[in-house]
């Protein structure tokens, strides 16, 4: 049999060749399918099969069909590459979108501005950290709680929903705080349901406003008394109601005195608001403290004499030179000494002492006056604060002197300390830094 082997092989080869030629002949006779149809079908061929097809490329370049076939195969490969690129692109885009969404969520959660979403019945469906803080949510958080339970004001006029524009300040039930709620305008295509609110903590702003209106209230009240007097006494003079010379003189004196009081008040208010606003320009200079203290005490001597109060000055032999605004420091000391004289009954004593330890210069104003009640002590440096004590109310005063003195001390990097025993007396101590290293506000 083995002798026949080459013959079989040759026959098989010949048959293959005939088959091949036959296939080619038959192929030539295949009616030309519309190329688009093949293309359509090929475009549906999965990638793996397209790879296999590629291996079936027909090499006969002269053959039209082969060329078409090969072209289709190339087109399929190109389409496949394009598809792959598109697929990869979408993936990247999706990843980016997911990342951006997470980034936005994180941003909203952590931003310092409060944001909540509220459903139709005021139930909070989302709250970021800032909103939880502003609404004083506590450990339970805000989610699923009703906004109505958190806000003191009546919310019924502002039901949430599409088109509801809300921009108002509300007081909280949960804490002494005020929050401004601003609704985000709903999109035109939005369904009724949730409203987004931005929250803004306005507690501090409110406190400032309250303080400002209180200040204005006090200022107008303080201005009114001298104005009333000036008007009333001027009218009394002009109407010729009085014939008595002594009474006429009294009227003139009141007008002059009240005009001075008015200008002092205006000046104090101006200085104080300038100091508080940090707008006051301090004229910094080397200040000879011995001369400063001596000058103030000399100027106040007449006032002490009028009142029958003994004014004593005890200064050490050596006094430092400090950096400061001489005129304002004089106001500081004048206010302390003036207060001491004012609230010390006649035959009492006011003593001014000074000392320094190279770092701090201290001026102590000690009186044997009526003293300051413990409940008044923390408040005496507040603007317009005056004790309800009748002995204080009887004395003229704007309630600004100590506030101004404290502002001046602070502007020089110093402070004023107070110790007092009602019925025994008061010690005010102005403490100012010595040398150029002091944190001086200019």
């Amino acid at each position: 049999m083995s002798g026949w082997m080459p013959i079989w092989l040759a026959a098989a080869g010949l048959l293959s060749a005939i088959g091949w030629l036959g296939w080619r002949r038959f192929g030539r006779r295949v009616p030309a399918e519309p190329i688009e149809r093949i293309g359509r079908q090929l475009s549906r061929v999965p990638a793996e099969i397209a790879g296999d097809l590629r291996r079936l490329q027909l090499d006969d370049a002269a053959d039209e069909l082969a060329r078409g076939w090969n072209m289709l195969l190339e087109a399929v490969a190109a389409a496949r590459e394009e598809l792959e690129e598109l697929r990869l692109g979408r993936h990247a885009r999706e990843t980016l979108e997911r990342y951006q969404a997470r980034w936005m969520t994180d941003l909203v959660a952590r931003m310092p501005y409060g944001l909540i979403t509220v459903s139709d019945d005021w139930t909070i469906t989302y709250a970021n950290a800032a909103a939880e803080r502003m609404l004083h949510a506590g450990s339970g958080g805000l989610k699923d709680r009703s906004l109505r339970d958190l806000i003191r004001n009546d919310l019924s006029p502002f039901h949430p929903g599409r088109g509801i524009a809300l921009d108002r300040t509300f007081e909280l039930k949960t804490a002494e705080a005020s929050v401004r709620l601003t609704s985000l305008a709903a999109r035109d295509d939005a369904e009724c349901g949730e409203t987004v609110f931005f929250l803004h903590d306005v507690s501090q702003q409110k406190a400032v406003e309250r303080e400002r209106s209180q200040f204005l209230y006090h200022v107008t009240h303080e201005l009114r008394t001298p104005l009333t007097n000036i008007r009333a006494y001027a009218e009394t003079l002009s109407e010729g109601v009085l014939k008595d010379e002594a009474m006429l003189r009294e009227c003139y004196n009141v007008i002059v005195g009240e005009t001075q009081r008015l200008s002092r008040l205006v000046e104090d208010i101006l200085s104080l608001s300038q100091m508080e606003a940090g707008a006051a320009r301090l004229t910094m200079d080397d200040v000879n403290t011995a001369r400063l203290v001596r000058q103030v005490v000399e100027d106040m001597q007449a006032q002490a004499d009028d009142k029958g109060v003994e004014l004593i000055l005890s200064l050490p032999a050596k006094m430092p030179t400090i950096r400061g605004d001489k005129d304002r420091l004089a106001v500081l000391l004048t206010n302390l000494v003036g207060n001491a004289i004012k609230y010390t009954p006649s035959r009492g004593r006011v003593e001014v002492r000074a000392e320094d330890d190279g770092q701090r210069f201290r001026v102590e104003v000690r009186d044997t006056g009526i003293g300051i009640a413990p409940e008044d002590q923390p408040r005496v440096f507040e603007k317009f604060y005056r004790s309800a004590d009748e002995r204080v109310a009887q004395q003229p005063g704007t309630g600004l002197g100590l506030a101004l003195a404290m502002e001046i001390a602070r502007a020089h990097g110093g402070t004023i300390e107070l110790s007092s025993t009602p019925g025994e007396g008061t010690i005010f101590t102005a403490i100012l830094p010595v040398g150029r290293l002091a944190a001086v506000r200019t």
């Binding site: 009240h221 009114r224 007097n229 008007r231 109601v241």
Partner: protein
Amino acid sequence: MATILVAEDDAHISRVVSMWLTQKGHRVLEAHNGVRALEMLRGGTIDILISDVNMPVMNGIDLVIIACREKLVGTGVILLSSRADQAGIRQALAGLKVTLRPKPFSPSGLARDVERMLADQSVAAE
């Protein structure tokens, strides 16, 4: 002639009001706080009370409310107050017959208020 109590903590204002009304022939008493004024109202016959609002110990509004409730004033009450406070004061004194005169006031205007009050009183009595 009427007896008028001036409740005012500012001595100068009190003095000028007193000056004008004395000149018109009235008897004027002065109190420098609300509590002292109330004592004087309870202690004697006062025709007209002229009171400041801001006073130590007891303010003018409380004083006027007590004075009206206890019928301590014969003819009328004048309250000296700032224009800004008037709405609040009117609310606090709702239902009470009180004349509000804003500060700074004219003493001649105040004297005219007093005369008018006394004239109305005598018309009502006739």
